[in-house]
Amino acid sequence: MPAPPTQRPRSLRSNLAPSDRAFRGVARGGGATVLVIMALVGTFLAYRAWKALHKAGFSFLTTQDWSPDAGQFGIAAVMVGTILIALVAIVVAVPLAIGTALYISEYAPRGIQRTLISLVDLMAAVPSVVFGLWGFKFLEWKMTGLSRWISDWFGWIPIFKVDGVTRHDPLSTPTVYTSSTFIAGVVVALMVTPIACSIMREAFGQAPPGEREGAYALGATRWGMIRSVVLPFGKGAIIGGTMLGLGRALGETIAVVMIISPVFAIQSHILQNGTSSVSSLIALHYGESSPFALSALMAAGLALFALTLIVNFVAASIVARSRSGAVSEA
């Protein structure tokens, strides 16, 4: 008998049918088109912003004024305003989102669970202009009482201070408390809560039943079980949902534009009338801008984009790395 021929691995080659080849071509083409569009937006904005950035140099980050045609412009004030509004929003939204997510996944009766989930999702789809109207015409005047009370009694904490008001002055007008960072932040909080909430709820719902029952078997109360099983399991989703909400809050435009009254100085008193944000700056100034001013606006927009991008990527990596993160996509 002849020796068996030495076997070599076959080279695998798939012979694609013409229809498959066409399909792959179209799919690749679609992917490339998407990429080109997205890259075009990014690079064009960067290119147009470059002129302003180049002229302003480092002072772009430190100047508070916004008069590009006079050469005096920078994002110090608007960026601080944007971040403060987003922070207020997050401080309000995170407890609200965690509480609602826990309520839906742990406390709510099974019968109404699906309805509640739909309601929260619906709230995420409510247009921002509707929230803006609500904040501008309804909430603003309801909040002034609370704002005044906080500033009267906690005014010794710097951020709660309101200039130009003395405590218990019956003649002081409530208008100093309107259009403030606080009110804008609360309205934005209501817009980002559903987003954060649905991410958290999904993770909480996936906490392993075995561990839950184990906690109960060891004599835990419901809160004990939540604290020792559900919350640690959903930690990644809590952080990730918070960051995604933060990203959304940073970029929110219309609701903020409707509520705040723009001021181009760093406004660190969150209860006081007047603040500013990058997106409201663009929305209010794009119309009367010269080409150079437009370029400056784009630079501001680009700075905002960079900030949102960092926040979102950090959020995505935290969610993906957490135990519950495999399926909890926005």
């Binding site: 998407v34 937006v41 789809a125 509707v130 835990a220 109360t221 970029g251 680009l302 984009f305």
Partner: protein, 417 residues
């Protein structure tokens, strides 16, 4: 019957007694009442008392604070302060009766319930406020049949309406979705079907673009199409800006939905010798159909409510304009945004009416998404199942007709079977 009777045959029944089941005596023993069923529920009278007591105490204490100690105004402040006091007093009350872990359990339960209620209350408040304030405008028929060209600032609500904005919104939405949906679906299928370094890169870029503030999409269109290429501020420009805003959302959601399709289905299709394209068209897409529809409709709901890109690119007009290329076109969010900044009450009411109309459109889209979607990949409704069964039976009939005539089954075998 094939079962074998294994009972021993007994001729004489008087010798072996047939087996009997004995029923135990169920009457309760003397001196003991029938036991009352125990309630396993956890609510006791003291729990109610603690909750209502704490509620009453907090409301009155806040009243005291309000009027005497630290005066403030506005019902919102009252509610916030009484809530904090309520939680505090409730904790103290419960800690009289229960141990530490139980107290924390009760307090956290109360907190979680009230946080859920706050969000629900906010949603209801937003919706109700919009409809109530818009009602004065909404209940006139002309609000939906006229545009605003004849309505001066002082005209009553019986003149003028939002038809131009509804039409504009629908046109802009239509164009935006006509661009974003095919491109988005192809993009999602690409990310899912052709993995590799290139698609990873595209996925990263798309994810980055979901972070793009929607305003910047508008600014991009404004700076390119309008300032450089000289397009009017128009419906088309707005639709393109909206398409850029929605595209990453549709791709990303679609990608997630496609990932949920069970791999076994695709592998089964490949094992039958099907090519990639046919597998995508006949297995992947139909299985993920409901999820993809949800992704598209939620994208549409997002696009319909976006104000900021439209604000920059569409211009404003009071007349109906059905030509997307020339002249400004109004849309509902933009109209609402401009009208409420008017100082006249009638204009503000119209603004709220526009917002309410917008809200209704979003709710309708959302309801459609719930009806179509909301079930996992490959789970069918009863109707779909029936239709599949009919189709499968038809296929079976066709196969039978094509196959060569079957051998007649021998009569003897048929009888044995």
């Amino acid at each position: 019957m094939t079962a074998v009777d294994i009972r021993p045959e007994t001729k004489d029944r008087s010798i072996v007694a047939p087996p009997r089941t004995t029923v135990p005596d169920r009457t309760p023993p003397h001196g003991e009442q029938a036991q009352a069923r125990r309630r396993t529920g956890v609510l006791r009278t003291s729990d109610f008392l603690a909750i209502f007591g704490a509620l009453l105490a907090s409301l009155t204490m806040t009243g005291l604070l309000w009027t005497q100690l630290a005066p403030f105004t506005g019902p919102l402040g009252y509610i916030v302060v009484s809530w904090f006091l309520f939680v505090l007093i409730y904790a103290v009350l419960v800690s009289f009766d229960e141990n530490r872990p139980t107290m924390w359990d009760r307090v956290s339960s109360v907190t979680v319930h009230s946080l859920g209620l706050v969000l629900l209350g906010a949603l209801i408040s937003v919706v109700v406020n919009t409809f109530v304030r818009g009602w004065t405008a909404l209940h006139h028929v002309n609000f939906f049949t006229q545009d605003l060209r004849n309505a001066g600032p002082l005209d009553p609500l019986t003149v003028g309406g939002i038809r131009h904005a509804v039409v504009g919104t629908l046109i802009e939405l239509g164009i935006a979705m006509a661009i974003a949906v095919p491109l988005g679906l192809v993009g999602a299928v690409f990310l899912h079907e052709i993995p590799g370094r290139f698609s990873r890169f595209v996925r990263t870029v798309v994810e980055a673009m979901t972070a793009l503030p929607d305003l910047l999409a508008g600014l991009f269109i404004f700076a390119t199409l309008i300032l450089i290429f000289g397009l009017d501020k128009s419906g088309l420009a707005a639709a393109l800006a909206l398409a850029i805003t929605v595209l990453p959302i549709i791709i990303r959601t679609g990608d997630v939905v496609l990932r949920l399709v069970p791999g076994g289905l695709k592998e089964a299709s490949y094992a039958l010798g099907t090519g990639q394209w046919r597998t995508v068209w006949h297995v992947l897409l139909p299985t993920a159909r409901s999820g993809l529809a949800t992704a598209i409709i939620l994208g549409a709901a997002r696009a319909i409510g976006e104000t900021s890109p439209v604000l920059i690119t569409a211009g404003a007009t009071a007349q109906i304009n059905t030509d997307p290329i020339h002249g400004p076109m109004m849309s509902l969010p933009l109209l609402s945004y401009t009208l409420v900044q008017n100082s006249q009450d009638n204009m503000v009411a119209r603004g709220f009416g526009a917002a309410a109309t917008l809200l209704m459109m979003v709710v309708v889209l959302f309801a459609i998404a719930r009806i179509i979607g909301g079930r996992g990949a490959g789970q069918l409704t009863a109707r779909q199942q029936r239709r599949r069964a009919v189709r499968s039976r038809r296929d079976a009939g066709r196969y039978q007709k094509r196959a060569r005539p079957a051998q007649p089954i021998p009569a003897a075998e048929a009888g044995a079977a």
